[in-house]
């Protein structure tokens, strides 16, 4: 079976709907968005073309030509030049946007010259009448000498035609060049190039010369001959220019006969919206307003479902305790797992709201306007307008954000963006912020409509961005890396967000957050619970010691039980661990229990709340079950005041804002920068900054 699968690669300009088509063909849910550079890595899926024929579809990043200028684009070149039989595509499915067919056909003409069977799918035909476009399909097929299908990936139209065309194209296996670059430019030169090897098409050889990228199958002799062509760099450059112009001439000839735009029928909201969204003053004002609305909603809309989830888990824990047989397993469930998992679930409403807003921004085409507005500012700080996308999508999670930097062509700008992205407030920090804000900031409205807690949350996001930008500036001034900064961004058309895309995006991301955090928390809460309910000899004696202590003789039974539980916890393994780091964190205002939560947070920040939930559950006397928030609010410090008071709260907020507490991010940074140097700099730099800042904040406030 697998032997007969057709290997199909999806190639096309950015933002033409390749991933949308991929999702339709494979039934998967890869991320779709209305700005160039959503897909930055290869993704594979299986599609059933007919009753007997399957295809392995590979979705690729978008590119304007085979000549790459950034990491994401070079993935396309590598896929095409690979001569490995197992990996090289049998059929290339070029996806083009009907609205800008001319430019899309440039890439098509390059692909065609590789002499691989090619199907052209012209997407977004649902826009045709609105833009006044008409097309002569049968003539276009003839002129391009290829299978052409009109589709609408969003509306699921024409997908079967694509499947049939792939099969026909695979069976026919005919592939002829479209333009034949050699004649018009320098027949002699290209003739000599072709003579180097009969195993490759002329255009493949030309790409090897211009892109310095060779298939594994190339012999050293052939490579040497190719290298000789690289001598005259200015000639190469000139020929590449000529080649592009020649291709456009050919394309224009074809389109003149087959593609008509009636401008009088075209409706254009783009220019009207752009006047507002990219306006000198309104542009920034609207951007700030959008951010404000997002953070207000995170607090305002989420509080009801969150309270509901919190009390449900408290009851669940209660239910487990009173209905299951008392014993070790019940304790583990009621005191370890349920509160731990509840500590993640509770944040689903807030995180989903955040993801919802990001998805809407991404789907409307607004992101690219922000890139446009911010380029000049970002450049002063050693980054690129495109760095805005990682910084904004980093509010969901730093991992995809760091991947998104692949579209930045300058290595220095890209590296700086990678290094500072973890300062943006990711969704894993949200649980920590939310619970601490709820504890130390009063729930008041100011000016009658601004929620004070929402405002503090907004300032924490602002703090994250500001620190990212400041850190970028320092890196910009200290890093001695030479790389040319270049910036061309396509501004996509505005679109109404597809509800399906937005919902899938929110669901996928939320699921990933909950499952990812859930797994760690489940494991950690089991370990924590074990370490908290066991201990050395002193642990076993603690109950006896408390009871025999003469000071405690007059205490009521309830208070005595609490004292015993605390003494046990302090002498458990976890207590001993926490106590041993207490001297280091005391200056920041934290006790040893918070210390434990800090330690576990180094795996992932969001376990902070779960860890405290588990620790406090073990400590609580068994009678009354309270919610996580109530438990935290009722904790007392040595002087008898509230443990989570204003100075401690602020100190914790700042610590979590700055500290590098995410293993997964470090691993991705290692992968994208190919050395441990940068993740280590992040780990120590950020965590050091966190320690010093929290120290200062706490000492000033207390």
């Amino acid at each position: 079976m697998s032997k007969n699968n057709i290997k199909v690669a999806l190639i096309g300009n950015p933002n033409t709907g390749k991933t949308s088509l991929f999702n339709q063909l494979t039934g998967l849910n890869q991320k779709v968005g209305n700005y160039p550079g959503v897909t930055v890595d290869k993704k594979q899926g299986v599609s059933k073309l007919s009753a007997t024929q399957n295809a392995i579809i590979t979705d690729l990043p978008g590119t304007y030509s085979i000549n790459p200028t950034s990491v994401d684009e070079s993935i396309v070149l590598k896929t095409l030049l690979k001569k490995d039989i197992k990996e090289s595509p049998d059929v290339i499915l070029v996806v083009a946007d009907i609205e800008n067919l001319k430019r899309n056909l440039l890439l098509f003409s390059q692909i065609k010259d590789l002499e691989i069977p090619t199907v052209l799918a012209i997407n977004m035909v649902d826009q045709m009448s609105r833009k006044g476009i008409s097309i002569d399909l049968s003539l276009l097929k003839k002129e391009l000498n290829t299978e052409v299908v009109l589709i609408s990936a969003r509306k699921n139209e024409g997908i079967n035609d694509v499947k049939e065309a792939i099969i026909r194209c695979h069976v026919a296996a005919k592939a002829s060049p479209l333009c034949g670059i050699n004649h018009k430019i320098d027949p002699d030169y290209f003739h000599k190039l072709k003579e180097i090897s009969p195993n490759y098409s002329l255009y493949e050889l030309w790409l090897m010369v211009t892109q310095n990228n060779y298939p594994d199958t190339i012999t050293s002799e052939e490579k040497e001959k190719l290298l000789a062509f690289k001598q005259d760099v200015s000639k190469l450059k000139k020929y590449q220019h000529k080649e592009t112009i020649y291709r456009y001439q050919e394309i224009n000839k074809i389109l003149k006969k087959t593609y008509i735009v009636d401008k009088s029928k075209a409706t254009d909201i783009r220019s009207k919206l752009d006047k507002v969204f990219t306006h000198k003053i309104f542009g920034y004002a609207i951007f700030s307003f959008i951010l404000l609305v997002i953070f207000q909603s995170i607090f305002d809309w989420a509080s009801v479902p969150m309270d509901f989830i919190d009390s449900t888990f408290a009851q669940l824990s209660d239910f487990a305790k009173s209905n299951l047989q008392p014993g070790v397993l019940t304790d583990l469930l009621a005191e370890g797992i349920i509160p731990g998992v509840g500590g993640v679930i509770i944040f689903i409403p807030q995180i989903a709201i955040l993801f919802l807003f990001i998805a809407i921004l991404e789907e409307t085409g607004y992101m690219s306007r922000v890139v446009f507005l911010m380029d000049k500012i970002m450049r002063r700080f050693g980054m690129n307008g495109k760095s805005v996308i990682p910084l904004i999508s980093g509010t969901a999670c730093a991992i995809p954000a760091i991947m998104a930097t692949r579209t930045i062509s300058s290595w220095k700008e890209r590296l700086i963006t990678i290094l500072v992205t973890p300062f943006t407030t990711c969704s894993a920090r949200l649980p920590v912020y939310a619970i601490i804000i709820a504890l130390v900031i009063p729930n008041k409205k100011i000016f009658g409509f601004l929620n004070l807690q929402g405002l503090v949350l907004l300032s924490l996001y602002a703090l994250g961005f500001a620190t990212a930008i400041l850190a970028a500036y320092i890196l910009h001034k200290t890093l001695k890396i030479k790389s040319k900064s270049f910036f061309v961004v396509e501004m996509p058309n505005y679109k109404l967000p597809s509800i399906k895309n937005v919902l899938f995006d929110v669901i996928e991301k939320t699921k990933a957050f909950v499952l990812g955090a859930g797994k760690i928390i489940l494991a950690l809460s089991i370990v924590l619970w074990f370490l908290a309910s066991n201990g050395p000899a002193s642990f076993k004696n603690s109950e006896k010691n408390v009871i025999e202590n003469s000071e405690n003789q007059q205490l009521s039974d309830v208070v005595l039980q609490q004292k015993i539980a605390s003494a046990k916890l302090e002498n458990s393994y976890i207590g001993i661990m926490g106590k041993s780091i207490e001297p280091i964190i005391k200056p920041l205002g934290y006790d040893w229990k918070i210390g434990i939560a800090l330690i576990t947070s180094f795996a992932a920040r969001e376990v902070f709340v779960g860890t405290l939930a588990t620790i406090y559950s073990v400590e609580a006397d068994d009678e009354n079950t309270t919610t996580i928030k109530q438990k935290m609010a009722s904790e007392v410090n040595e002087t008898g005041g509230k443990l989570f008071n204003f100075p401690v709260g602020m100190s914790l907020l700042v610590f979590y804002a700055f500290a590098m507490q995410c293993m997964a991010t470090l691993a991705i940074v290692k992968r994208e920068t190919k050395t441990w140097k940068w993740p280590l700099i992040q780990l120590f730099g950020m965590t050091g900054l966190a320690y010093v800042s929290s120290f200062i904040i706490y000492q000033i406030l207390s």
Binding site: Y64, S65, N67, T69, E99, N100, K102, R103, L106, K237, K238, Q240, H241, T244, I245, Y248, R270, S271, D274, K275, T278, H279, K280, I281, G283, Y284, S368, V371, F372, L373, D375, K376, I377, G385, F486, F487, V488, V489, E490, M491, P492, N493
Partner: protein
């Protein structure tokens, strides 16, 4: 000599043939060809980058790039 950077918002020009060697390949590939019509759509608040429409592509480019591309202004 006029360049794309000297256009006013809404104004149209045509890329001159002599710019060919100065246009970065990437821009060329995106449709910024000699002879093509360019319209300046918007200038960012800090005067850079600029937002143009050329050959049907809507692009944001930096001023430094725009300064390299000579144009003939359309006679209105």
């Amino acid at each position: 000599m006029n360049t794309i950077a000297s256009l006013h918002i809404g104004e149209i020009g045509y890329i001159s043939e002599e710019s060919l060697d100065f246009i970065p390949l990437k821009l060329l590939e995106m449709g910024c060809l000699p002879g093509a019509e360019v319209q300046l759509i918007q200038i960012a608040p800090l005067k850079d980058p600029i937002y143009i429409c050329v050959n049907g592509s809507h692009l944001a480019i930096r001023k430094e790039t725009a300064l390299q591309i000579k144009i003939l202004k359309a006679n209105l």
